[in-house]
Symmetry: D2
Subunit: 341 residues, 4 copies
């Protein structure tokens, strides 16, 4: 299958290149970047040196392909979707443009100009653990938000069982989440060593969580803190349950939900250094590691999940969704194990 990546000089685009250049069923035929058109992709993504002689091209020169991955800034996919749909039979959009099903919600959390109602209705949210059935044969697949994904996968079994009364999701994120463009806030002397509360309230990924978990918006509280890390999200979800649960109940619930999921691992050990999920262990992989601990008083449950924001939180889920849509091995191209130490 021939694939093109639009907006390939960014971090999600680069990650898609890394995955697809070694994918057994995909051949990358184009990678666009208006800024770097004409330059080798390895001049921007130095890890790809020696792996491909591909050069960045312009969107204007995109050939027809079987699948198009869109990694453009917010709003552009929605605005140019007609054009993109003519270029490929399958479109995977990694932006936030088509994540929210409800156009009114999209208008409220993003903007009204990119409602694109008719297109929105055709997109399937690309999180196989949530939407696998709908993804089979899907032609229009929406990417996922990284923070939202960490929280969603942490809480899905609880939400489906109707157990969540209220949840405070406190996520810790790396610097790659903000993208490849340098800003004053990303300047190394300022960002290094930071433990920076950049979104204590009001983060837009809340909408995606409420949609995925199907809980009342009033039940979710979300805060994000940037920490010294490049890749990764750790979500600490403080859940107030509406029923008394034991640790055994939780094992049963999570195992039932995730036993057959190839990219979800339950991590909850009594010994060792890595007793709970950690982002650095999943860096570069498509895993979402999940663990938990019950508080001894009240009905608080702490669910902890770790993902690589560029992988399970973006490019990895996109490729996994494509694998499902095409009926391929769901793990194709996603076999990297991760490093220790």
């Amino acid at each position: 299958m021939r694939a093109a990546i639009v907006g390939a000089s960014g971090y999600v685009g680069g990650e898609l290149l890394r995955l697809l250049l070694h994918h057994p069923h995909v051949q990358v035929v184009a990678a666009t970047s208006e800024r770097f058109a004409g330059r080798y992709v390895h001049s921007v993504h130095p890890n790809l040196r020696g792996r491909t002689a591909l050069q960045f091209s312009s969107i204007a020169d995109l050939p027809e392909t079987d699948v198009l991955f869109l990694c453009l800034p917010h709003g552009q996919a929605a605005r140019r979707m007609d054009e993109f749909a003519r270029l490929a039979s399958i479109v995977v959009d990694c932006s936030a443009d088509f994540r929210l099903r409800d156009p009114d919600w999209h208008a409220r959390w993003y903007d009204a100009e990119t409602r694109a109602d008719e297109w929105r209705a055709r997109f399937v949210y690309g999180l196989p653990e949530l939407t696998r059935d709908a993804l089979h044969g899907a032609r229009y697949i929406s990417g996922v938000g990284c923070n939202a994904t960490a929280v969603n996968l942490a809480l899905l079994p609880l939400a489906r069982a109707g157990l969540i009364e209220r949840v405070v999701a406190d996520v810790k994120v790396g610097s790659s989440e903000a993208g490849a463009r340098a800003t004053d806030a990303s300047h190394h002397p300022e960002r290094a060593g930071a433990v920076r509360s950049f979104a204590p309230v009001g983060h837009r990924h809340q909408a995606e969580i409420v949609q995925a978990l199907n809980i009342p918006a009033e039940a979710l509280f979300f805060s994000a803190t940037a920490v010294e890390m490049v890749r990764g999200v750790l979500a600490t979800c403080h859940v107030f349950l509406n029923a008394d649960l034991t640790d055994r109940d939780l094992w049963r619930l999570y195992r039932a939900a995730y036993a057959n999921e190839p990219f979800i691992r339950l991590v909850k050990s009594r010994t060792g250094l890595y007793r709970y999920p950690e982002p650095k262990i999943v860096a570069g992989t498509n895993y979402c590691d999940i663990g938990w601990e019950l508080d001894d008083h009240g009905r608080r449950l702490v669910v902890i999940s770790a993902i690589d924001n560029l992988m399970k939180g973006a490019a990895g889920s996109a490729v996994q969704s494509l694998n499902v849509a095409c009926g391929w091995d769901e793990c194709a191209g996603l076999d990297f194990v991760g490093l220790h130490p």
Copy 2:
């Protein structure tokens, strides 16, 4: 005033040395370390090279002094308090031995063997913002827990006003919090880049928070995550209020509580890179920076505080408390500004 530091090779002991060697009213006459006795203090604390010719000595050789700072592992201060009290007229204990007023609580959260009821009753908790009046003229001063202090100072104005219904305190901490002894968990290849949920539930500092804020134990939920940082605590306190408050109310409340506090700064800006408190900005200083943001739905308030765990969370508060106890300028020896970047 002549001072001795017991257990001076650890990080809190080293910080006390740094502060007291330049304190206008204190002269350090002894610094003990059984492990390093006979060696120069700068061989362990290389920042002090050229500042002092002091050598570590043994507790057995402690002279009588005016004030004794104890920085021993848990339990030792309580067990040897009679001995130490004979050596100095003022004792400041930086361990957890005398932090909890209620002996039963101490027995429950720590152990029954170090109840030391009669000594416990004589100790004043060394957090001037909370106990300034009691500290005047105090002879026995207890140190504070670092995580507890970040949470306590963040919430004190709300707690005093009876506004806290429930709080989830999610703290991010640096590696110096675990002390100067190497462990498998502190081995650099394992600890570097970690975002590690090491105490999702059950952390002992909860007891200190409940005591300081005077809230029901059931209203407090506490989790701690280790991040890539050496010094520092960031506390993200998700507070569910029992009344509707505006941002203006909060400014009024916090200003009323803290306007005259020399080491508390309210940090809440609409622009700039440092809009909320950050640990790296207060590293080495005795500041506690505090900011907040109201959630637009529900009655959630996010209060953010940052301290240096070795300073305001330990040695800094100890020196500040001594300053109060002795009637000196409360800021004496604590004037370091902090660095940027």
Copy 3:
């Protein structure tokens, strides 16, 4: 082919597990660790969770296998080589025991007790770029030193051409180089942020460099500095040449030497952020990236090389050498691309 890893709880052993568990021609049947015997390998190497159900076993229980990888502390392979040779037809020793061909040199740089002259003579140094011919069909393969490898690959083309008059190799290394055992020096608060000159002179890898490059010992000067990094070596080799060379000469020389090497990339760009080799770009991969710059005065040439000390500097070269020895695809099991960012 059935393989066992002896000393598999360390970092090189863990890396071998990562590589061999996905190697097309190898099946890992045992991984020993006296300390962790009976525990799952993923309890120590959390990245392997879900990839293997293997448990650590004791050396005493080692089955006969086709190939044995030894990752033991210095001296043990030499002392127990008879025993290990009975257990497998191929032995790859990752320690320093058999790296130096000359027993006297080994005695001088390491110790006389592990000369093991007869075994020493049978070992081939496992750096395919240097010893590929000898590795074909080899049964006893010695591992390589990480720092030595970074320098050797940087300088091999110059050395073979007899161009080196004198070289100052200044290497910057990550913390994993010191192994998996916690020490005072590896304690995170001490090691974090360090730029620490730990071996300004006298590093033992010098012997390996002199041997590989076949230059006079007096021509090599070597210093090592630990920097804030877990994996990686950057070697800055300041070469004083005995002939005038142009940049074009150097391209010709290095291309001639390395054009067919699957794991060597020449990195020397005029633009972009990654103009020269960088360790973080090769982390987890078997690449050695090499670049250079001629000084405008004198005959100094700066050659820069980057490797992952656990990969090209240890486990990666070991597996590559086994691939050569067995006549397999030299890249088998070594296909990870590396990450950006």
Copy 4:
């Protein structure tokens, strides 16, 4: 004495503010920044919050003062020196404009347009260890280059004794060296974890070293590598001596040169974790720590020095020079001890 800082929003300007706001003989009356004019200095330098109510102003509004510190980009001080000289009786320029005495050298290494020959002749190079006598009563003081200073102080005793045949200076530097402006290269995901050879040859600080050490340009080889650090320079100086020296000779030489220097410490221990100089130990201080080790073969000597590039490498030396020029205590305003850990 009334002081103004021109270009105070940068890192050297911020450091001067930190130092001068607590200097016993200086009162800061203006701090200019065209970009941030009208905003509080603490909005850019958050460490100064609560320490000053100063706001940035424009150069156009500069009052007359006693001393003017210039922290402008290269070329501006030279171009506007007449104007600045009218505003203050003492001018300390922290840029590179007046560092090189020889106008031809300046023209060669920087540019001919900023020769400013007549002003150049009036400036004294602001490194008290080198130029203390000339600094007494000086009115025009040039700042120093950070990398140059680390190398100069490391080698000054050797150079004065005429012992240097050839030196390879390999410096490791932090990210603050590149200034406060965000660039693609300083974007955190790209810069974090870097060990990046950014100036293997051709660095302009070479000129400053050759001038200070008074050695032939051909004897100096200089390379710079960026490492994961914000503040700091470690210089590893590989010196080839023209005479046989013992360690005792070196102690004698360095002690003779530096025994009375308040900001130079000799760091060379046989035990402990900090046996040689380290940048993190001097962060925020005005110290230059210096150590060395003799190679056992040849006549190579490795001299290691560590400074904070913003302090001894810029603002600290500037303030120290002013102290000398004015006849004040040379350490005034420079008493910060540094932190451990």
